[in-house]
Symmetry: C2
Subunit: 369 residues, 2 copies
Amino acid sequence: MSKVIYRRRKSVRPAPHPEEPTYGPLTSQELQLAARNHSMPLEVLREDVTPPGLHYVLTHFDIPHVDTAAWHVRIGGAVERAMELGLAALKRDPAISVPVTLECAGNGRSLLRPRPLSQPWTLEGVGTAVWTGVPLAYLLGQAGIDPEATEVVFTGLDEGIQGGVRHHYARSLPIAEALRADVVLAYKMNGADLPPQHGYPLRLVVPGWYGMASVKWLQSIQVVASPFQGFQQSVAYRYQHTAEDAGTPVTRIRVRSLMVPPGIPDFFTRRRHLPRGPVLLRGRAWSGEGPVTGVEVGIDGHWAPAQLDKPAGPFAWRGWSLPWVADPGDHELVCRARDATGAIQPLEQHWNYQGMGNNVAQCVRVTVE
Amino acid sequence: MSKVIYRRRKSVRPAPHPEEPTYGPLTSQELQLAARNHSMPLEVLREDVTPPGLHYVLTHFDIPHVDTAAWHVRIGGAVERAMELGLAALKRDPAISVPVTLECAGNGRSLLRPRPLSQPWTLEGVGTAVWTGVPLAYLLGQAGIDPEATEVVFTGLDEGIQGGVRHHYARSLPIAEALRADVVLAYKMNGADLPPQHGYPLRLVVPGWYGMASVKWLQSIQVVASPFQGFQQSVAYRYQHTAEDAGTPVTRIRVRSLMVPPGIPDFFTRRRHLPRGPVLLRGRAWSGEGPVTGVEVGIDGHWAPAQLDKPAGPFAWRGWSLPWVADPGDHELVCRARDATGAIQPLEQHWNYQGMGNNVAQCVRVTVE
């Protein structure tokens, strides 16, 4: 047994306070988060359904280990009949399968100036899966909701500290959202058991809402009669102008489109290179606020409407394409979508303090040889 | 069709040249790579086999799309019988299953000072899987190797530009390594078809070597009689002191251990918090150069030997554990492994120009309450 003094590596720069916007360089804390939390490589946009292991993942704390035999979810609070259900019981209930595009509310954060200090997503914090499980409304029906109930609170097994507050990850939904026919307590993702990082054995999936609503590793579902004040509801996930501003809650996914980067990449810069001639520009577009009604592609500032594929479901992304004849030189390709509410992606950032909902149009730079 | 000029976002800092070490802040190019390439969250070290989607992934270019019906691998060069084999034919050949820990040669790069500019791994560029497929030696036996042959060159379908050179990803192995009984042309990972990011439909797996040797998306296997000079062999993946130094090739995995971070994390800093009292420190250790023979855990500079689990295979990681009674305050936990060659993890960095093989001991900082 030797005794060695481990010399602490000197930090190159002081650690800034989390959730404080900065013009400074990316911090080691942000790099740790970028390494832990997976995004979907943009070329995978070519797939209708994101293959296993390529859907985005954002885990606030650690991925919990769950003993399936001992696990159950508790349904209680302002209900007539509190229940505890294990996985086998849940699988005997009626099941639905819903194709859903989920996106992290912080997607695009690292592009904001100044940059809010949190998970530094570029643009790939997204994915589409078919989620199978019990309709939440069915289980709430079994439990019977008391008339004074206003929200349903979902609590995960994942525990940690954020903003100085120790808590299990928890979020609430208004009763009306919780009773939507497509809100599912999912135990399968694309036909297989949930992988650990997607909430095994049971997660909520709220189609149309940013991912923070779809609580993973569920341990409890509580019906309540007053607004939930948990950290992830009342402090995190809000559109704020400043730290002092109470802000407004982040809810539905803002309209966005992304493009499969054409051609081949440079390893380090990811700049795209392609031969001259015809190329089909393709991508996906989605919105949680209404159906996507159009995608425009800007090529060096000249905009043209893309052709839209049939939607795969009300809350799954929609394919789009536009033929282009690439002529030699450097080009900027931009795509932006609009939805049935009239919302359209901005060409300049919509800055906010937490870096939420940055649906700025994607720009892909290409060199045609 | 509207016409809008898309204003280019101003870059906060100039892009440095790739593969040039820097003391500077993390660049946007490195962040893009960190977002694309997935690492294994450290809590997943608790699993013998890394669950789907959590094994590390490093893709130099794009993940290719493969049409299985049209795909085949060509075996040729200095052989008696050139062959083309599709997936169905490969599945009729004898199969082996091998548990293997794969690690990226650049794992630990972002901790180096100065920092080589490439994929900025922290410490989690690792994973363990059971790979099933045809022994490479069997297929080489079918083809018949010419007596003058010295190497086997493996070429993937993934194409791009690196260091100014356009190429398909390709690497070679010396004949003696290629004929090892445990080198496998894998079409299954943990019993399922390879996912796209792990080389579907066929990849090489070279147990004991850093991941760059295990070429994905194989399109060709060529036996050659002179040293392969491809970019990924003669320029990338070398231990160099300077840019001018030809260096020595990166081959086998250097001994390393990692710890499951105990307790619960702070979201942003990932600092660990745990209650006072007994806790079992656990982790994994591996080496491509020989069996792991010991792991020591340093607690605030006092070292104690961990207990080793039985190895799961010659090139799969080995579990270790050490009971600790945590007393209130801040502590530094360090683990380091040694292998049968006498190699031991360093406590200070072994710097090299490309940032390869940095097996410096991990340090986990904890606060006991």
